[in-house]
């Protein structure tokens, strides 16, 4: 009886000295709360010749890894994991785990080492869809261009009435200002920037003490209203 057991232990000893069983765990988090979310996933070294499957409690074992340097990645359908660099050593010490950025050279290795057994954290859940833009009336009118258009439309329609109800003085002032604006516009159009600019300056100078007449304007409007009565 002892002989078979002896052989078994010998064989297992032989295996352990030749290769190493790489152990680790996937930590469930809010991105991936469990195996039902993760689905059938495996942890692979390099191009997948050596691999271990993720079990329900998140653990995995990659059996019989010979010594060498490997890139560890997780093959999962919906979740992104980081990649790790694993150095399995010839000696009896534990393997070295380091972060790895895809596309970077393997040497020199990163100075940061991570603890063993390996812990893998789901980093992101793939989002496959782009939201669809749908038609909505309110949204359409929230567009600044639309608002501007609407505002101009309303102004255009309302202009004759405003003009009609305006005080003659204010109207005069308004007309003057408008004339100035058309002046500037025409000068800019003609390429005569200088006059345009000076006109603008002049206009600003003139309009700078403007805030004062505001109450007057309201008074004038009141007056106008009174007049109509």
């Amino acid at each position: 009886m002892m002989i078979p057991l002896l052989i078994l232990t010998l064989v297992s000893l032989l295996c352990s000295s030749l290769a190493f069983d790489l152990k680790g765990r996937v930590v469930w988090n809010e991105i991936c709360p469990g195996i039902g979310d993760l689905g059938q996933a495996k942890v692979v070294l390099d191009n997948g010749n050596l691999y271990g499957s993720v079990t329900r409690n998140g653990q995995f074992v990659i059996p019989e890894v010979p010594s060498g340097t490997y890139i560890l990645s997780v093959v999962a359908h919906d979740h992104a994991f980081e990649r790790l660099r694993i150095d399995v050593l010839d000696t009896d010490t534990l393997p070295e785990v380091r972060p790895y950025v895809p596309g970077t050279p393997l040497s020199p290795p990163s100075p940061v080492t991570l603890p063993y057994p390996i812990t893998l954290i789901p980093r992101a859940r793939y989002d496959y869809y782009t939201p669809q833009e749908s038609f909505n009336l309110v949204g359409m009118f929230q567009n600044p261009m639309m608002l501007l258009m609407l505002g101009t439309g309303v102004l255009m329609l309302a202009m004759p009435y405003i003009m009609k109800n305006m005080d003659p003085e204010v109207l005069q002032e308004f007309k003057e200002r408008q004339a100035k604006i058309t002046d500037i516009q025409s000068s800019i159009q003609n390429g005569d920037l200088k006059t345009g600019l000076s006109a603008m300056m002049g206009g600003e100078e003139k309009t700078s003490p403007a805030p004062a007449p505001k109450p007057q304007a309201s008074a004038a409007r009141n007056r106008g209203k009174n007049k109509r009565r």
């Binding site: 329900r56 890139i71 990645s73 782009t130």
Partner: protein, 1016 residues
């Protein structure tokens, strides 16, 4: 300024990114999850939930190396577990809520899955794959048994034919292991039986002309050998004839081993001391014993020489007794299939299913041994199994219920030789799963004809009188107001055919097959290796028609047909219904190989050649009496025919009509064929020409004109040719207004090779681009063979080659290990504006080798199983690369990122004009470009693409274990109105403007009037 440009770039990149909207998922695409063709008998497995409710699943292990569970109510997949290719399933067993599996050589890996969800609970590596012993069949030497004596959930696992382990059910650790002391001897164990006293390992030891039964009893507590005995016996036909029946009696579980020896059933009781002597059951002579899965209930079936089956029961007193005889067998019936099942109270039932040649119906008899006061009750029924559609019943599983006394309701799961899985509830058909679709060998998308419009008056205008015509036109015109209203309504509110809407027909639609507005709907003709060809609607994946391949003369000896090629020999644009030709290899069971061709109507599946009768089996034509080397489709004007080359490079035509022969005779002198010839491991590549005149055999012969000068240990793995697609532009205009002319020599092929030491693994892999007319090597790359395997995948279109491989960093010590994708473009001449007209150049011109190559290598995120490019009607749309990744996704990679002319610095203004972006070794892995989105599209083996009527859109069909179909628009759907086009906004704006005009017009008029009056 630069930042603004960059911002614009970024926004453009976002804008061009094609991605699926959530509402389009499942509308523009479909996915069929499959398991594969069951290898063995499926099993009904019932579990009891927390509240005493039971639920059952049908468990099966398939030829696609998948273990899956199907809901018996509707035939949908409950779960599946995919095993790696090098980790084949060799055994599985379900017990209560868990399923134990053994996979790999000799059972190297042990897994426990949850039987209701398929979640992996434990995975345990038992031995290395190299030390696994290979047996034939693979399930020899492995066995699983559960410890049913207590609730420990421990499992006993036999692997490699000589190692037994007890595995803890909670932690998944090994409790103890026992290895046979003489593993070099000839004893191979193949069965494990558990009792509370001992674990019995039953195996066969090889003696001179037969096998001897060998039994070992092992202590379940510590794995010590209790006793070991050779049972005097002589078994001829291996371990299939060993049956272990057990019976749960008052004194515990008693176990008896039975086997067939010299037409008599011998049996021996198994006790921990193994002292019992075999006894011979007297009576009838038996031909065979069948394990029907009820060994634990003490039941099995033995068939007599006349074909009648007897149910044999291990009775209370420890003897084997005949319980029932299924008589009534005659040559009018096929051989019966037996199966056992349990109802929800655990009572056993035995079903016998056979096919009657006379009634052309299948019959089932279900025996309930416990009913009729223990005498047994048989319920029989016939059911209309369609043998010409599904072949022959291969395996049966039964599940039964006994709602009232003398009434047994049963449901049968049948698997057939064509790979169908069916569930019948009594004589009612419930569902069918066509699992052979998980093994499609060739597939092609065939265009559908336009919808037929009914025109009743066509042709009668000439003859009808004036009055009649007036009456008819008035009658037609009376619908006009209605039409006008409808038109206005449609104009204002109606939607247009959208490129992202569903094209599936309504479920009650009975109109004939026709294409939709944009030609998205096609018929997918797919031929499987299980002797069946399907016509699949690309709109929703429904099977429109299916036909079973006939075996021709081999029907008498049996055989299989492996489809190799499929060609569309007539399309809708040729003016009639489309036709396809499937070329296959028939391997008869007497080892003769023939090449056969099946000529089918793609819309109905009807045989075009007319040799098969009605909807019966589809008969093919034997084209070559021998193996096929290569087959091509030739087009000469409107006629298309298939040219086949046999092993002697003789040319065969199909259909072999005089017109086709004439047409081929005319073009024969100008044909150049690069062919891959030779035996496995030493394939060669050679260029061939076809003899202009027929040889004395009456056939043209291809003769070699060049051989590729590859090293002798380099094996040609495959040849990748360019698809026959239109090329929209012959050159590429650069930012500085110069032109690079594409190298479009029609004879160019890509050759993938592997170099290996004799009988060793591959040491390196090669990619060659070779001019197929004269054998000039235009490009060559040596790639590392990671793990001694060459797994290079390549896609080639126009002047663009993309290949994918794994770089293990062996070439350079500090180089990164990663998957690589290399993108190459070939241009004419030595640089810009150097035109050699390569597409029309004579094969003998020196200019054919004057090319310039642009090449860039990228780090690819993952391994892939197949690669292809999109294809569109005129080839104007940019081509994307489609890959099936090892994480069960189908993903597209845009050409812009794979452009080999991406500069290694910041792009100049000229390069920006060409939309070139700076080179970055890392290809972005964008989940928005995963075409298969949330679908787990398992193991896609090949992706085929086909143009739609819309230039912007390409149809994509991937097959492997699963089927997946979608459509992609690499440059967005530029030829239809944008999905986001806001018709309501347009209508509203126009209406608003019209309203504004209506309102302001009188105002303006009044104002003008007033101005005239008060004009100063």
């Amino acid at each position: 300024m630069l930042t603004i440009v960059r911002f614009l770039w970024a926004s453009f990149a976002i804008w061009t990114a094609y991605a699926l909207h959530p509402s389009e998922a499942g509308v523009v695409d479909w996915h069929k999850a499959l398991l594969g063709v069951p290898l063995t008998r499926p099993d009904f497995h019932r579990t009891t939930g927390a509240h005493g409710a039971t639920r059952s699943v049908v468990l099966t292990a398939t030829s696609n190396n998948v273990i899956g569970a199907v809901h018996p109510e509707n035939g949908t997949v409950a779960w599946r577990y995919l095993f790696e290719d090098r980790d084949p399933v060799v055994g599985y067993k379900a017990y209560n809520d868990r399923l134990a599996t053994l996979s790999g050589p000799g059972g190297a890996t042990f897994r426990i899955l949850d039987v209701n969800s398929g979640h992996l609970l434990h995975e345990l590596h038992l031995h290395s794959a190299d030390s696994g012993r290979l047996f034939e069949p693979v399930n020899l030497g492995v066995a699983i048994a559960f410890d049913d004596s207590d609730k420990s959930k421990d499992t006993f696992v036999l692997t490699n034919g000589h190692t037994l382990r007890r595995i803890n059910g909670k932690s998944g650790d090994i409790v103890w292991g026992w290895t046979s002391p003489d593993q070099t001897s000839l004893v191979v164990y193949s069965k494990v039986v558990t009792t509370s006293d001992a674990i019995y390992l039953i195996g066969l030891a090889k003696s001179f002309a037969s096998y001897t039964v060998h039994v070992s009893a092992i202590s379940p507590d510590n794995g010590e050998l209790l006793s070991d005995a050779d049972v005097p016996s002589s078994i001829i036909n291996g371990p299939q004839g060993l049956i272990v029946v057990s019976h749960e009696g008052t004194r515990g579980k008693s176990v008896r081993l039975a086997w067939l020896e010299q037409a008599r059933i011998h049996s021996v009781a198994l006790t921990p001391q193994l002292k019992d002597k075999p006894t011979i059951k007297k009576g009838s002579a038996y031909l065979q014993v069948h394990d029907i899965g009820l060994q634990e209930k003490g039941l099995f079936v033995a068939t007599k020489e006349d074909g009648s089956g007897r149910v044999i029961r291990f009775s209370e007193d420890g003897a084997l007794k005949v319980f029932w005889e299924f008589a009534d067998s005659s040559p009018k019936y096929t051989e019966s299939t037996y199966a056992g099942g349990l109802d929800k109270d655990g009572w056993p039932y035995i079903a016998r299913v056979y096919w009657s040649h006379v009634f052309r119906q299948a019959s089932a008899h279900v025996l309930a041994p416990h009913l009729a006061e223990g005498k047994g009750l048989v319920t029989g029924f016939t059911f209309p199994f369609e043998t010409q559609k599904h072949g022959i019943i291969a395996n049966v599983a039964v599940d039964a219920a006994n709602p009232e006394e003398f009434r047994v309701l049963s449901r049968l799961v049948l698997t057939t030789t064509t790979g169908a899985v069916q569930l019948w509830q009594q004589d009612q058909h419930q569902w069918t799963r066509e699992e052979s679709l998980a093994d499609i060998r060739v597939a092609e998308m065939v265009e559908l004809p336009e919808p037929q419009l009914v025109a009743s008056q066509v042709g009668i205008e000439e003859t009808e009188s004036f009055g009649a015509r007036l009456r008819r036109q008035l009658a037609d015109a009376q619908d006009f107001p209605q039409y006008a209203i409808n038109f206005a309504k449609r104009f204002a509110t109606g939607s247009y055919a959208s490129a992202s809407s569903s094209i599936a027909p309504a479920s009650n639609d009975t109109s004939p097959l026709s294409r939709d507005t944009f030609g998205f709907r096609k018929i997918i003709v797919a031929a499987t290796s299980h002797g069946k060809v399907f016509g699949i609607d690309s709109a929703n994946g429904e099977i429109i028609w299916s036909r079973v391949f006939g075996l021709g003369w081999a029907a008498e000896v049996g055989g299989r047909i492996f489809p190799l090629k499929i060609f569309t020999t007539r399309t809708v644009s040729d003016g009639d219904t489309p036709q396809v030709v499937i070329v296959g290899q028939r391997k008869a069971d007497n080892s003769l190989v023939d090449t056969v061709a099946f000529h089918i109507d793609a819309l109905t599946g009807e045989d075009v050649s007319g040799t098969s009768i009605g909807q019966d089996i589809l008969q093919g034509q034997d084209v070559i009496a021998g193996a096929l080397v290569e087959a091509y489709l030739f087009q000469d004007g409107p006629t298309k025919y298939v040219v086949l080359l046999d092993e002697y490079l003789q040319v065969h035509l199909f259909p072999d009509t005089p017109e086709n022969a004439d047409s081929f005779h005319k073009v024969a002198p100008s044909i150049h064929l690069p062919l891959r010839t030779g035996t496995a491991g030493s394939h060669r590549l050679g260029g061939h020409k076809v003899s202009p005149e027929k040889e004395f055999t009456g056939r043209h012969i291809a003769y070699p004109i060049w051989t590729a000068s590859l090293p002798p240990n380099e094996d040609v793995r495959s040849i990748v040719t360019r698809p026959h697609e239109p090329v929209a532009s012959l050159g590429k205009v650069l930012g500085n207004r110069t032109t690079l002319y594409k190298y479009l020599n029609p004879g160019v092929v890509v050759v993938l090779t592997s170099t290996s030491t004799p009988s060793g693994p591959a040491t390196s892999c090669g990619v060659y681009v070779i001019d197929g007319t004269k054998g000039t090597i235009l490009y060559h790359a040596n790639l590392p063979a990671a793990g001694g395997v060459c797994d290079v995948k390549a896609a080639f279109t126009e002047n663009w080659l993309v290949y994918h491989y794994y770089d293990d960093g062996s070439a350079n010590a500090d180089q990164a290990k990663s998957y690589r994708m290399v993108s190459l473009e070939f241009y004419e001449g030595s640089g810009v504006d150097d035109k050699t007209s390569s597409s029309d150049l004579s094969a003998y011109s020196n200019d054919t080798t004057r090319i310039s190559v642009y090449e860039q290598s990228y780090v690819f995120p993952r391994g892939i199983s197949t690669i292809t490019t999109t294809s569109t009607k005129f080839g104007i749309t940019v081509k994307d690369i489609l890959v099936a990744g090892n994480n069960h996704q189908v993903q597209s990679f845009p050409r812009r990122f794979l452009d080999p002319r991406r500069p290694n610095r910041k792009p100049t203004a000229e390069e920006q004009e060409e939309w070139l972006i700076q080179y970055d070794p890392l290809l972005p892995d964008d989940p928005k470009r995963v075409l298969s989105h949330r679908y787990q599209v398992a193991r896609i083996r090949k992706i085929i693409t086909s143009p739609a009527l819309l230039e912007s859109t390409s149809l994509v069909f991937g097959y492997g274990v699963d089927l997946f179909f979608t459509r992609v628009a690499p440059s967005k759907t530029f030829d239809v109105l944008n999905e986001n086009f806001n018709k309501a906004q347009l209508v509203l704006t126009v209406a608003g403007l019209a309203l504004a005009i209506v309102i302001t017009k009188p105002m303006v008029r009044r104002k003008r009037l007033r101005e005239r009056w008060y004009a100063s």
